[in-house]
Symmetry: C2
Subunit: 418 residues, 2 copies
């Protein structure tokens, strides 16, 4: 059984928005054993949508469509779906009541609906309506020619609620699906080629129903094993066996045996060991704090920290000496040391991270070009500092600095493990 | 002239990574007047890649392919391209020298290359190699059957450098392209339907070569006008005329007439008026600081701030009274007022933002459910606070809180304009 995702909307094709919906949907489908064969982004154009539907029909059993359902004139998905299935549009009572409910909630009272709002309740007559708890555009489920088609709005939180509450349960009820098992090993500090050479013989010995993929990103490589089949416990056993072999071989570069981010692996370890953390960020500008605090439960570990962009805040919040800043500069071993030790002292955490650097594009000097970053990590007993020279792209320098800082923290934590 | 983007790699189809490359490439192609017809993500599978290439060949003049060029065994793009074009693979001297150069840079000295590294220099014999300054996998340019095909690695910074330095200039040299003009108006605080009704007559009067699209996102709606044609100055004049009409009609909800983010519009205004900003974040955990500091030049406006996750840091960095926290709670009008006024006082900026709330999924109470957020903005003369009730998704609550806070700051700035 295969699925296909079609996103409709010129905004993706002109690059104004990034399609995050598809990855999210693909993850959800994978958990129920439904593989995504292709993801296609097509324009708000009748003919193009018809072609995309016909091509998907050739390849997939389940076709999920997002976008193009807003109340405004550029949204033609609904009309085109009706044409594709050869049916007309009818007003759906439940969908209309939902439009009224949403407006009542938004406005406090139900004022007269605009015509464009009422049109949201029109649907192709062969569909089952999926109520949109968070918006006015209904979802639509179609059974046609042995395939399932589902059309949903492109607004992420509206689509997500529908997928979790209605679409996934309905698909599970309608199809007999195989099992898919994915296991991911997160490594840091070693390159893709090095890892590949190191585990070549293990990779060669994989059975045909297990695939290994290397997913490199910013100083990290994820090794993902995927197994497909009918016997879930057999798949799990086989995959776990190979995971164990790889973990043993790769050794110290392994950060986690779960498919989680570096900061989540750190949070898990620190939570288990009741350790606390604070941050002192200059060039990363709050990005490390954001990475940490996006995770539920981070407040058990993370006290908070400073985004000390200016000299003044480095002094007043972190206690960096004015002379240190003027003698060695804000981007120096001396300053980062005082930042990280100031964070420990002022924020009273067990561990701290500090980053100071030149993210660019301006601010570089011959001595300290754009991309120069000093990172410090410390606990009460030990302070480690390190200088990095990244590239000249601001956003990348911020991201790489954050990952490098988290890597350094992870290594320090390992050193003090047990 | 139309382009198509194909991304290769199971990691997108299982939702492990979000395809950000395609949006970035689409933006670049748009600036040179090349419209993207479709974006397709396909698996690391020979047959599927061949089908995708053949389908794209039917629709597009330029086909850009990313991904599947790593040194490891799951990457089969290169072999499949050679098969598609009916040619063999040859070792390319320049590409091999580049592999050696990269390894010398990484290791400090050139140690023996691994076989998998040398294989990076193998390319289909009909291609022109595009040197990869940032990695070992070469880019490949093919002219075939009246189409241009370009294959590039999927690692974003490697691909981006190639597109900017080589691919875009080569495409401009090879094709005669029409002009495309996009203008975007950023609005905040009004819904899509309201805006559509308000400018319906303007929309109806648009000439056929201008399209209007509504792009809603988190309390903001972007109105995008796109015009296609041969006469650049005519297109610009026509589009600007309609932009002016819409801006006048929509009035106060207009944040910017450029295609920029809300925080960038604020930064531009504050830079021009030499105003300074600091932040005091609890539930947004550094996300507002990150939004601001991702922009080059933000240090002229932004001093920094506190990520005060714990009670202690709210007191020690921001000067919030211990009694306020215990009497009213951390999520209260009283606390957010002391936070924002404490930021102004301690960080010595002209304006400040403070946010405190319950991002979830835990921490809610009957009185203050998950999603309750207090936001404050202030300058020396005025403090505005407001309570919001968002949903129960942590990541969304963080993003919505940040946008709501920036909206409130923008409104306060407008009030004090001139």
């Amino acid at each position: 059984m295969l699925a296909e995702i079609i996103t409709i909307g010129d905004e993706i094709l002109i690059g104004q928005i990034v399609d995050t919906n598809s990855a999210w949907i693909a993850q959800k489908l994978n958990t129920i054993g439904l593989r995504v064969k292709q993801i296609s982004s097509v324009s708000d154009d009748r003919e193009h949508i018809l072609t995309a539907l016909a091509e998907a029909h050739q390849r997939a059993d389940v076709i999920l469509i997002t976008g193009g359902l807003g109340p405004t004139k550029d949204d033609i998905t609904k009309k085109t779906l009706a044409e594709y299935f050869g049916v007309g549009l009818v007003e759906n009572k439940e969908a209309l009541e939902n439009v009224e409910r949403i407006f009542r909630r938004l406005r406090g009272t139900l004022t007269e609906l605009l015509d464009v709002n009422k049109q949201q309740a029109l649907v192709p007559e062969n569909c089952q309506v999926i109520i949109n708890k968070n918006g006015t555009a209904p979802g639509m489920w179609f059974n046609n020619d042995g395939r399932i088609y589902v059309s949903m709005p492109g607004v992420p939180h509206e689509m997500m609620y529908m997928v979790e509450e209605s679409v996934i349960p309905k698909i599970k009820g309608a199809l007999k699906l195989p099992f898919i098992v994915h296991k991911t090993i997160l490594t840091a500090g070693e390159g893709e080629s090095y890892l590949a050479e190191k585990i070549a013989d293990i990779e060669d010995s994989l059975p045909p129903f297990i695939k290994l993929a290397y997913l490199p990103k910013l100083g990290q490589v994820r090794l993902r094993l995927s197994a497909y089949g009918d016997n879930e416990s057999l798949l799990n056993n086989e995959v776990n066996e190979y995971v164990a072999k790889i973990v043993e071989r790769v050794g110290n570069a392994v950060v986690s045996e779960e498919d989680i981010t570096l900061e989540k692996a750190i949070l898990n370890h620190m939570t288990e060991n009741e350790l606390t953390l604070s941050t002192a960020e200059s060039c990363t500008g709050g990005y490390i704090a954001h990475l940490i605090t996006q995770h539920a439960g981070s407040s058990k570990v993370y006290f908070g920290g400073a985004v000390s962009y200016s000299y003044e805040l480095k002094e007043s919040i972190l206690g960096v000496n004015n002379e240190t800043l003027w003698q060695y500069g804000a981007v120096s071993k001396e300053t980062v040391t005082e930042m990280v030790e100031g964070a420990l002292l002022n924020f009273k955490s067990d561990y701290a991270i500090a980053v100071t650097g030149i993210a660019g594009p301006d601010g570089g000097t011959p001595d300290k070009p754009v991309g120069t970053v000093w990172i410090g990590v410390a606990n009460g007993e030990k302070t480690i500092t390190k200088k990095f020279l990244f590239g000249n792209k601001r956003q990348q320098n911020i991201e790489r600095s954050a990952i490098a800082a988290l890597n350094m923290l992870n290594i320090l934590l390992k050193e003090y493990k047990n």
